[in-house]
């Protein structure tokens, strides 16, 4: 294993309505893609906020090697500022870091080009399709050259064709940047396709239910979904999920 970029060390999070997560541990190595899979309410999003440093654990410790601006988050919704153009949305993280407006916008245009949105820089979010808005959100996350990219069910609201296209885009961005990616999803097949490692969580408060290493190259070659490696990984993840559910019921 290479250097750990971020680590959740036996973290637990309690909300006023009860325990939400843990104890749960997760180590993210530099440059790897990890998928977090689990039923609704198992604390996946909470784990993401801990990794992002947006929340502190009630118990346990969070270790983050990356500094501010080196962690980026993409939420389930594109979360764009509706009054601002795609370019201004993407330039935001740079401008907040103090970069001069014109330079920031030039970087933003380059980031938009990397997600194949070179021609819509001036469009506002309402003028974009759901998939395009999500790609703007991805461009905004990548514009600071983060070492850790957190994707919190980023494609959940999109249709199957768009999600697959966006999945390829994420792999493309990963291949170019080698940022570590933590990817939350409900979808077992999406997890096995996107990630080199799939971590399954139990129903809330989420704990580790099992872990699957998905062999094979990243980005995935054409036809990966029909390979035995892919099918076995999916079955292994599904078995972990089922065991996690049984454990919760018992």
């Amino acid at each position: 294993m290479t250097t750990a970029l971020a680590e959740l060390d036996a973290v637990e999070v309690d909300y006023p309505r009860g325990p939400a997560l843990g104890p749960f541990s997760l180590t993210v190595a530099a440059g790897e893609i990890v998928a977090l899979v689990g039923p609704s309410g198992c604390g996946k999003s909470t784990a993401m906020r801990l990794l992002a440093g947006l929340e502190a654990p009630t118990r346990g410790a969070v270790h983050r090697a990356s500094a501010r601006g080196e962690t980026a988050v993409v939420f389930q919704a594109p979360t764009l500022m509706p009054w601002a153009s795609a370019r201004a949305n993407v330039a935001l993280p740079l401008e907040l870091a103090g970069m001069h407006g014109r330079t920031a916008r030039a970087h933003a245009d380059a980031a938009l080009a990397r997600v194949k949105l070179a021609r819509v820089e001036a469009a506002k979010p309402a003028q974009l399709s759901g998939g395009m808005a999500m790609r703007v959100s991805l461009a905004r996350a990548m514009v600071t050259d983060p070492k850790l990219l957190l994707l919190d069910e980023p494609f959940a609201a999109l249709d199957e064709i768009t999600r697959r296209a966006l999945g390829e885009d994420v792999h493309g961005l990963w291949a170019a940047s080698r940022a570590a990616i933590v990817f939350v999803t409900h979808n077992v097949e999406e997890a096995c396709y996107m990630a080199g490692r799939v971590v399954v969580m139990t129903p809330g408060p989420g704990r580790l239910a099992g872990e699957t290493v998905v062999e094979g190259p990243l980005p995935r070659p054409l036809g990966f979904r029909t390979t035995a490696v892919f099918r076995e990984a999916c079955e292994h993840v599904s078995a972990n999920l089922a065991r996690g559910m049984q454990g919760a019921a018992a």
Binding site: R68, F75, T79, P82, S85, L96, K124
Partner: protein, 255 residues
């Protein structure tokens, strides 16, 4: 249903109601001081047009002044309060208290403080109080309405408070502020008229005063004419604010 019919329906209803009104007045020979026919009102409006327009402009200018004053104060207070939850908590009961106090009850004080020779100031002050709340609560609600995930994003990138205010909270508040301004503009006009009534001074020379004057003299047609001007002014103001709101929102959303 054709588009034309849809467009003309409101005007058609007004014409029909006016025709019935005219017919009833003529057929039953209703005395003009009790209920003048629309034609009598039209004649009165025409004959008194310069005086009515002058009075209307007077009332309108007081309402606009009150609107601008209320906007400035409401905006400043909302901005200040939104910086800290404790400030909001402290101010809220006071704000509600001021809001539920009928303007009629405050009017005598306002007239005294403005000075008996300056009823215009009292009218502006009272109208500003009425116009204050929609702008204040719109701005305050708007400043707190930013998408929580966008707030998290600003946290993530370590945004400074001023950046957060100008890049996130103020732009998020725009639709709420527009709505507040629209409501406030109408209320400022109503407030100015009510305040004129309460100030009870001819020195204010507004539409409400002319209305009262005519009614006291049993010049009912003239009263109606003043009322008509008031309604037209309100409708016009409302339409103007609506157009302005739509234009700004279209720019804000990009469509």
């Amino acid at each position: 249903m054709s588009r034309l019919a849809y467009q003309l329906a409101p005007a058609a209803l007004i014409v029909i109601l006016l025709a019935i009104w005219e017919a009833v007045c003529r057929l039953l020979a209703v005395p003009v001081f009790l209920l003048p026919a629309p034609s009598d009102i039209a004649v009165a409006a025409w004959q008194n047009a310069p005086m009515l327009i002058d009075a209307a402009l007077n009332t309108l200018s007081m309402a606009i002044l009150a609107f601008v004053l209320a906007s400035a104060i409401a905006f400043a207070v909302a901005l200040l309060i939104s910086t800290h939850p404790l400030a909001e908590r402290a101010v809220q009961p006071l704000a509600v208290g001021l809001q539920v106090t009928p303007i009629m009850a405050v009017a005598p004080l306002a007239v005294i403080w403005a000075g008996l020779d300056h009823p215009g100031r009292a009218v502006v002050g009272l109208a500003a109080i009425v116009a204050f709340f929609p702008i204040f609560s719109g701005a305050l609600t708007g400043l707190k309405s930013a998408d929580p995930d966008l707030e998290r994003l600003f946290d993530l990138y370590g945004a400074r408070p001023l950046d957060r205010l100008f890049r996130l909270r103020l732009p998020s508040a725009v639709p709420f502020i527009l709505e507040g301004l629209k409501v406030a503009a109408g209320l400022a006009l109503i407030g100015a008229v009510v305040a004129e009534f309460v100030a009870r001074s001819g020195l204010s020379r507004g539409l409400a005063w002319r209305l009262m004057e005519a009614s006291n003299r049993l010049e009912t047609a003239k009263t109606f004419a003043a009322l008509l001007v008031l309604v037209l002014m309100g409708v016009g103001l409302n339409a103007l604010m609506q157009v302005g709101e739509r234009a700004v929102l279209r720019w804000w959303r990009g469509r």
